[in-house]
Symmetry: C2
Subunit: 294 residues, 2 copies
């Protein structure tokens, strides 16, 4: 349903690109961001900039969120200056943030009570996927809410999956992040072994990436490490945050996750330093510190 009015809150690396793609899709996009400067570039692209959540909520009946954490989502929806308290007409919320599955379930049921639909729809694919509209979207909620969100999803993602009821989007994201983090650790220990045993790294990667050891991490991150490029495609600190969410969920389910837990501890150690702001593939920097006698 093109031309429909949409509110978008959270114009970080991901959110700004997503809002931009919705403008290209012909939506009337009203944006709000806590740091208003980030809205400038979108205003140039045709977005209408709201100065408060309440004023944005007055203009639209659908709200999209892409913010940092559970607390930010809660403040925007239920806080004293949030959407609900503003007495607005918003009837539908799509939350692209990565938050805990239990928070998503709680937000979903509180909203259901007051007749507002909620989809938890975390994404993966990073800055590139957001920019190119090729994200993977894992959406939890009712079948009908999912169907009604497709006009938006189509402009943002390539792989769009209805994962189940509210919360299941976040659970699926947990699975994804657990596997990514461990695969990064696999790449790290493999590269380090190769390096310390004097192997040619480029040859080794060529051999190892092509067979049973192959992974997205090995193909995409290992060459960056060989090139000493530790810039973030995805922040190490966000990997730690996502691991914390996933492992808190596992813990609540009495589910042992020994390897994930160890990898989380490694990210915890790594993120005590400025390395938190490097890419998640820079985990190898922690190992290199271990190798030195400092």
């Amino acid at each position: 349903m093109r031309g429909q009015k949409i509110g978008f809150i959270g114009l970080g690396i991901m959110g700004a690109s997503m809002a931009s793609n919705l403008l290209k899709g012909g939506f009337e996009v009203h944006v709000y961001n806590r740091s208003p400067l980030k809205a400038n570039s979108l205003a140039e692209q045709g977005a209408k900039v709201a100065l408060s959540i309440a004023s944005l909520a007055d203009e639209v009946d659908r709200l999209l969120l892409c913010v940092t954490d559970d607390h930010a989502v809660e403040e925007i929806i239920f806080g004293p200056e949030g959407v609900i308290e503003s007495g607005c007409e918003i009837r539908s919320i799509i939350d692209f943030s990565t938050i805990s599955p239990s928070s998503a379930r709680e937000f979903g049921s509180r909203l259901e009570e007051i007749g507002v639909s909620y989809l938890d729809a975390p994404v993966s694919g990073g800055d590139v996927g957001a920019r190119e509209g090729t994200l993977t979207i894992m959406a939890g909620g009712s079948e009908i809410d999912f169907e009604q969100a497709k006009d938006v999803f189509t402009w943002l993602g390539r792989k769009i999956v209805h994962t189940g009821p509210v919360g299941s989007g976040q659970l699926t994201k947990c699975v994804n992040q657990l596997v990514v983090a461990i695969n990064v650790a696999a790449m790290t220990e493999g590269l380090l072994f190769a390096q310390e045993s004097g192997l040619d790294l480029v040859k080794t990667l060529d051999v190892v990436s092509s067979g049973a050891a192959g992974s997205w991490a090995l193909t995409n991150y290992a060459p960056r490490i060989v090139a000493h490029d530790m810039r973030p495609g995805f922040y190490a600190k966000d990997m730690l945050k996502d691991l914390r969410i996933a492992l808190a969920e596992a813990d609540a389910e009495d589910l042992p996750a020994p390897v994930s837990s160890l990898v989380k501890e490694l990210y915890t150690a790594m993120c005590r330093s400025e390395d938190a702001n490097l890419g998640n593939h820079a985990l190898i920097s922690l190992y290199r510190k271990m190798l030195r006698e400092e």
Copy 2:
């Protein structure tokens, strides 16, 4: 150089298929196996079956090995009934077995002293790769020995890499196996999380395999687990053996490998039971035992 005489010792799942492909390549292949029954099918394909290592060594000047472990390689080459003691004319040995890098180096230098060339050339690609001649071959040795082995390698592998001096083939295999094992653990903990949190496994795999969490393990093993197919493409007990080799090497280099070590401990636990004879992807069976109150 087609038509050349070649000796092949070790007709397990891998070796039998490799010898068969060399027959197709036009080589005169003389085979020997400790359990002689395994040579029957190759005899039907045209291989000449030797009744002892010494009698095989009398017929050929190149020897190929694909056996279980360091001890087996040592016995065949240097043992009282082995190749060297037989006083034969073998001038070149290609060892496809996965053994420790230090054993490979030792064998290589002992052979060099008596004028016999040695390549350590472990493979990956499993039973399918061996059958179809699409193995990855990681060959360590001199440039000239590598070049002279290409007539053989061509019939066995698709990706054929000269990794460096003797021992470097095994070191590269170590890297490969460390990464495979950890990727399997990643898949295992991801699948288990999905299962225990009530997600649809097929949908979850569809989402997770396609993005940054993707891996060969996830694509190839996870569907087998969903289908309860734990048959070995690669034995769990061989994964444990390879992890032991790699981690002994890491230990000798004072190289910390925390995640690899934890995964090795998990395989150690798994391989105490009959599950040792399942596929390496059956690691999830260990976790399932942890989940039950037994």
